[in-house]
Structures are given as C-alpha cells and as structure tokens.
Amino acid sequence: MIKTIYSNGKIIAKTGNEIVAEAMRQIEPDVVAAYPITPATEIVQIFSQFVADGIVKSEYVAVESEHSAMSATIAASAAGARSMTATSSQGLSLMWEMLYIASGLRLPVVMAEVNRALSAPINIHCDQSDTMGARDAGWIQIYSENSQEAYDNMIQAVKIAENAKLPVLVTMDGFIISHCMEVVEVYPDFDVKRFIGEYKPDRYLLDVKNPYTLGAIDLHDYYFEHRYQIAEAMKNARDTILNVANDFEKKFGRKYDLYEKYMLDDAEIAIVIIGSAAGTSKIAVKRLREKGIKAGLLKIRVYRPFPSEQIVMDLKHIKVVAVLDRADSCSGAFSPIYSDIAASLCSTGIICPKIVNYVYGLGGREIDVEHILSIYEKLKKIVLGIEKPSNKVEYINVRI
C-alpha cells in the first residue's frame, strides 16, 4: 500500500501527460493557447475536454501553429492573464523566436514541455535536444524524473514564474514519462489553488485606464541594460525557486531543491544526469553500493538558472565525474550539461575532479542499468589509473 505524504493527498494512477493536464486543471489558467504535437498532444487534448465540459473557466485558443501558440500565450500574459501552453520538439523549435520575447518582456508564461528528439531524421521519441536548444532563451527550465515530479513542478512553476517575472518550462521525457502510467499523489484542488494564489500583475494591457507600451524598440542606449536585467533576474531566480520549494514542502511535504544528491556525499565516482534516466541510474548506484563501491549521482532538476556554485561544492570531492547528456550539441567539442559543469568547476579555481562526457539515448535509444553500470566501471578504472579519462564526447549504445 502506497501512502500519501500530504494528509489530504490522494494516490491515483496517471500517465505523465494526464497528470500534467490534471495540474493545469487545478491551476486553471485564464488562457491556454496550444497546438498538438506528439508526444505532448494529450496534455492539451485532455485540457480541451475540461474546457468543453465547463470544468475550468479557462479560455482555450486552438491556434494554427506553435509560433502562434507562444505568441498568443505571451500576448495573453501581457494582457494580464495567467497563461500557459504545452509543446514538444519541433513545436518548441518553431516557438524559438518567441521564447526569447517571453523572457525579454519578463512575462510569467508557464509551458509544459515533453522532451522529444529534433528532426532530421524525424523521430518522435525521447531525447532532450529540444529544450537544450532553448537553454539560452531566458526561460527557467525544470526537469522531472517522473510523473510525481512533473505534477509538483507544474504547480511550483506558476509561483516561480510570477515571482521571478520569467517564463518557466517544466519538462518530462517523451513517452518514458509522458505515456507511462505511474502512481502519483495529487493534492486537493482547493489546496493547490491556495498555494498558487491569485495572479496580480503590476501592469497589464487590459488596464486601459493606465495605458502603456510593451515591446518598444531599444537602440544601443537601452538594449544592453535590459538584457543585463534579464540575466540578473535569472540569477536571482535561484532563490525564488528555493523559496517556492520551501513553501511547497511546508504545505505538501515533498522536498525539492535545485538538484538532487543521491549517495553523493561520500562518493568517489559520480554521474551527473537529468530527467527520467536518473531513475535508472539510481538503481545502478544502489547495486554498486551493495558491492561496496562508492558510487554517487547528481540529478539536475533546475537546469536554468544553472546552480553552478552549489554543484561545484557538491562535486569537488569526487575523483571522477561522468556527465551524461541526452542531447548532442554538435559543437565539435562537448555537449550542453557537460560544458556547464566543466565551466563551473573550472571557474572556482579549486582542484577539479576528472570529468568525462557521455551522450546517450538520442531518439529514444534505450538506456538501461547495464549501460549506466558500464560507465561507472570506466570511472572506476580511471580512478585506479588503469584507463585515461577521455577528452571527447563518448557515445553509449550507438553503432559506431
């Protein structure tokens, strides 16, 4: 029997998409503008049904493209509405131009994003190339390991966005989480609504008594300052995210941080990973620990803002770290998370652990416990001096 953590919580079985739609029903945004795309389609499909049945009073705008989805969501937010959307992969790519505008105008838009590979070749399965491609767009990015996290992250995202005045995207891995039935603890509607509170924008377009111009042109005399403010807001968002996590824990009992440490404090070798494969990796760590091997794991939850200083403090004692990316930046050098970790470690000037870069799981390619164990095996050999750490991206489970 699975027990609830929150006294008024209820255990239900839902897929990732279903639970995100459920969170959206409880949040009940004023406007949702969205466009279907596999594997995120169900989210907006289920939400449309809520609208059709009069269960939510949200206005649903069935736009003709993801570009318009993000444009209308941004506009609704600028108008003074709490507004949300959901997408995946090519949809996020089509929004790319508008992503920067959402953050540039400091609008608290919330988006559910289901991680899927990018074309070409076209592929509907999971990797994180889509959101990694948007990593410089000024959006807070929160990754979910499972359906419970996706649900909790969606609820927190609303408060984070509105307090940080930055858009937030909450991701979950396509099919692996979005279509997988899991047990999730949900909280009563009233408690969720009370937690997120009412949205009260400082200024908004529909406040016709106080007209203002939004989206003006900045020339070389103001643009830089405005961009600097966005960068500052992103830095400051760390505290906002932690404060919201703190409130969330106090209310619902689940603890969230910028990242999760799993048997990391006394570890000698560790993996840094993001998303659903963290679950697989935890099983590997457990098995290794049973054999007395000091393996650990660091699972990033908040990728933007990147918790660089904190991560460095938690990795500095590790002898060899493997950073696993489910996206290849095709940079000719290293992949996204690895680059962030390496830069963070290097910037402190403290002695760096050896770090190696792995790319795995592109286009939904399987990653199982054995693959993860083989990485730890390599790390062990590097510690023992049997093998040298690779200075290039290594690929797992690909026919080379």
């Binding site: 003709e64 493209s65 444009s71 969501t73 506009a75 509405a81 508008m98 529909l206 203002y212 003006a216």
Partner: protein
Amino acid sequence: MVSLKELSKNVERITPGHRLCAGCAVGALVRQTLIAVGNTNVVVTSATGCLEVSTTIFPYTAWKVPFFHSAFENSAATCSGVESAYKSLKTQGKIKDDIRFIAFGGDGGTYDIGLQSLSGAMERGHRMLYICYNNEAYMNTGIQRSSATPKGAHTTTAPVGKIRQGKEQYRKNLTQIIIAHNIPYVAQSYVGNWNDFMQKVQKALSINGPSFINVLTPCRLGWNYDPKDTMEVARLAVETCIWPSYEVEKGVYKINVIPQKKKSVTEFLKMQGRFKHLFNSSNANIIDEIQSNVDKEWNSLQLKAAV
C-alpha cells in the same frame, strides 16, 4: 456618413513627435483609426515594421492607448491572445471595461510572413479588427518586394536591370483571401479619403467578430514621389480602379467609391519613380498588361457587387 465636426471632438490618441517620414501615410492612417475609435477603449497590437519602430523608440512612445508589439509575423495571433485574455477575465468578472482590439501590420507582415497567423485568427473568430497598412513592399528594411508589390514596380529585390523590368508577377489578392474566410466584415480602403476609411473602422469595430481592412498606404520613399502628393497618389489608385474601395459585409459586396470617369493606369504610374522605367517605349507592353489586368479585376468586382 461620419461628421468631421463630431470627429474633431474626439481625443487624439497618437501623439505627434513620432519618427515616421514626412509624407508617410501610416501616421495619418493610425491617427484616423484612433479618432474613429472615439471614446471606445482599445488595445492595439502591431507587427514589426515602420509603424512600430517609429512610434515606440524606448523610452518614448507615441501611443496613448495600450500598445503591444512582440514580433513580425504574429500581430494577428498576438491580438487574438489579448482578446482571449479579455474574454476570460471579463467572464470571470475580473475586468469591467468594454474593450476592442485592433491589430496593425504592414503588407510584409500581413500578405507574406504573417498570413498564416492572420488566417488562423480570422478563422477562430476573435472579435478583433486587423488593419493592413499596405505600402506594397518591405519599406522598413529598404524597399524589398513583397507579394503585395504590383507588377512592374522597382524594388531592391526585384530591381530594374538590363534584362528585367522590376517585379514580374501580379500582386496577391489578399482581400479576396480574407473574404474567403467568410468573416463578417472585410474592406479595402485607402489613405486620402478619411470618410471612407473612418466609416469602415467604425463599422468593423461594431461587429461582433473578426474584421479586416486592407488600406492602400503610399510610401513616399519606396514609391518615390514628392511627399506632398501622398493623398493624391492614393486617390489616383482608386480613380484608376487599381485599388478599388469596397466592402463585403456578411458576404454582400458594395463598392464604396465609384470613379466618375475611370482614369488610365498611367495617371497613377507616372507620379511614381518606382514605375519610371515603364515609360520607356520598350516597356509599353507592361503598361498594357497592367491596364488589362486592372480592367479584368474591376469588371469582376463590379459583377460581384451587382448582385
């Protein structure tokens, strides 16, 4: 018929001091739009373009109504988002005011890059008025051809050269495309006839649903004429039937300005530097083709309006 005396009492809601060119028709168009709106609350969205960059140079703005610009191709989607927010907040009782919504876009942002967004918004039935300020090319980036550029016009991306004589294609008939969306109100108008345009704005705003006005808006720089002639050039477009002023209300066509005597297209063409090359004797056939196409389209419009 709108009374000028009555209209003159309306508050001006676009200020002078914006950076539009001398002789630019867009400033007049926006001013007339907002005077026609009167005391009605409006929120304006705009595509990237001359209008937006010239009226909102931070920290200044020429707009006394709420104004929102986000990108180039999405003025309609943006306006639909604002209107949806309004519907939601109004239904929930969070907003008390009655507000109307106007989206502006140039021909580049409307005929070309914004066509999908416009089509989507019109089909969804938002209560919004989309005004295309159609100056028949990408003027803000320096006079590049668009699908609204007429045949024979010189632009910087369909220039006159040794073997080519400006744009080779006829322009797209966007007004007809929007009419095919079966929305309640579609019109063509032009700068240079305040009465025609302002009546259309008022009619469009009174309709509970989407509406679209395609306004011929001469650009003194791109069309290359003397800035004082802006109104005259636009009027000639109507008098030659190159740009008929008409409206389609719930499917019923009405030609609003019927020229007493239909002038030759050369009257319109000869005022503008962009057509100068057409008057070389070797290009006489192009003028003939333009004339015969205008005749054909004018006849077709008259048939539609004669029902």
